[in-house]
Amino acid sequence: MIQFDKVTKRFPDGTEALKEVSLTLPSHQLTAIIGPSGCGKTTLMKMINKLEKPTEGTVLIDEKPIMGLDEIELRRSIGYVIQRIGLLPHMTIADNVSLVPKMLGWEKGRIDARVRELLQLTGLDPDTFLHRYPLELSGGQQQRVGVVRALAGDPNIVLMDEPFSALDPISREQLQDELQNLQKNIRKTIVFVTHDMDEALKIADSIIVMRGGQVEQIGTPQQLVAEPANDFVRNFIGAERISRQRTFGERKLKEFVSLFEKDWRGEAQKISVDATVTEAVEQLSASGLPRLALMEDEHVIAYASDRDLLRAALHKEEGAAS
């Protein structure tokens, strides 16, 4: 758990990047920090690994103030992915990924095993990629390695500073999907800075919306879309997305079957595919179960979680404007 307690950042020229920000980033969740450029989101994130220091206030990790911690050790215990990738071009992929484990003093066998395991986890064949150099890889592959490198030292916390924004739209979508899948397995505390609302809504467990060094709203993607706290958040999410969400409630589940999962090994709340989305959301939360089982003629044809429902709400239909 990462806590900010009345954190203010004032630069020497007097501008305040952060104004008494207090908030908590829960463990094992992916929290997105979003806002227009200059809102302080990157400064906020960089305070977690002491690349920036608060002028006033305290940052705590697991209830310990980080002020007293050695910054080098702290940084080695936190994963860090930057927007411009930042792989060391003169080192092979293997050397890049093993940088932090080496600094942590792991033995060679353990490092090698870890590097292979992580590359495999992100869909990069170790035998093909280990001895390549960064410049031989595509942008998407390089940033996959960037993510792998951040995870190499097995940190509890991973900071990501607009990691996918420099990629082409297709790679970006792919890496977002992969990050979601990866997070299901690794359950790290991820802090993800972005300026792309679609990205935040898609991958985050909770979203912090910032403007001018202050927090405008904190909530789950669903909460943000359903109840934007003010006009700024509403505009930032986009009127079009919100109205889609409104009319979406009256549409029937069967329209979205193709977006839902086909398999689920666990309990699920049964519901007819002819039910509306609003009914589905109500039944799912009333049941307390993780999934809905969509029934057609007594057969289950798909499973949906609340997240899948949200995805459906954000899904841009083919042929639809924008």
Binding site: L51, E73, R76, Y80, I85, T92, M103
Partner: protein
């Protein structure tokens, strides 16, 4: 042509010892030049506000005509090879210093930021990131300095430090063009030879990942 070959043969011993003196002067000057300019370049890349003044000073040295510089140093250091070495070192500084500085400050900021974020210390960033990535620039500076030094070392003869300049000077005084060439050709060969060797070293040392 045959006259030149005759000169080479008849003055073989003299040319040989001048050649060795020349190599000695150039080599020692460049080595000391590296020893001074490389650490200074690293330092001014870290403390950048001192960079322009320090590079400026070495640039001013560079503008002093070489013959004049040798002349200035004689009253201070007397005649002999130390004087020649000091002058040559001064000329070797600028290319090495400037290229080291440019090379290090030119390293992509995102790579440095990644290094800091991963918890590398300043020394680790210097040794594992900045120096390897700046190496092609630094080597280019050393090559420039070497060629320059080999050329200017011909003037060492005027402060009594020997070298191939002796032979050229003797040839000029006795209107013996063959003798001038017998001094000048080895200088040119030496400059080209040094440059080729350094080019190979540069190729070897350039990190593989940068050659793609």
């Amino acid at each position: 042509m045959s006259q030149i070959i005759d000169t080479f043969i008849s003055r073989q011993e003299m040319i040989q010892s001048a050649f060795l003196e020349h190599i000695y002067l150039s080599f020692v000057a460049v080595a000391i030049g590296i020893a001074i300019a490389l650490p200074t370049g690293i330092l001014i890349a870290r403390y950048r506000r001192y960079a322009e003044p320090i590079i400026g000073v070495t640039a001013i040295f560079q503008t002093i005509p070489s013959l004049a510089l040798f002349g200035f140093l004689v009253p201070i250091l007397g005649i002999g090879s130390p004087t020649a070495l000091v002058a040559l070192i001064i000329y070797a500084l600028l290319p090495i210093l400037r290229n080291t500085y440019t090379g290090i400050t030119g390293v992509d900021g995102s790579v440095i930021e990644a290094g800091r974020g991963m918890g590398m210390t300043r020394t680790q960033i210097l040794r594992q990131i900045e120096l390897p990535l700046a190496l092609p620039f630094i080597m280019a500076g050393i090559r420039t300095a070497t060629v320059l030094t080999v050329g200017i070392a011909t003037l060492a003869t005027f402060v009594g430090a020997g070298g191939l300049g002796d032979i050229i000077y003797r040839g000029l005084q006795s209107y013996n063009n063959a003798l001038v060439l017998a001094g000048a050709l080895p200088v040119a060969l030496l400059a080209i030879g040094f440059d080729l060797v350094l080019k190979q070293i540069e190729k070897r040392m350039t990190p593989k990942g940068l050659k793609i």
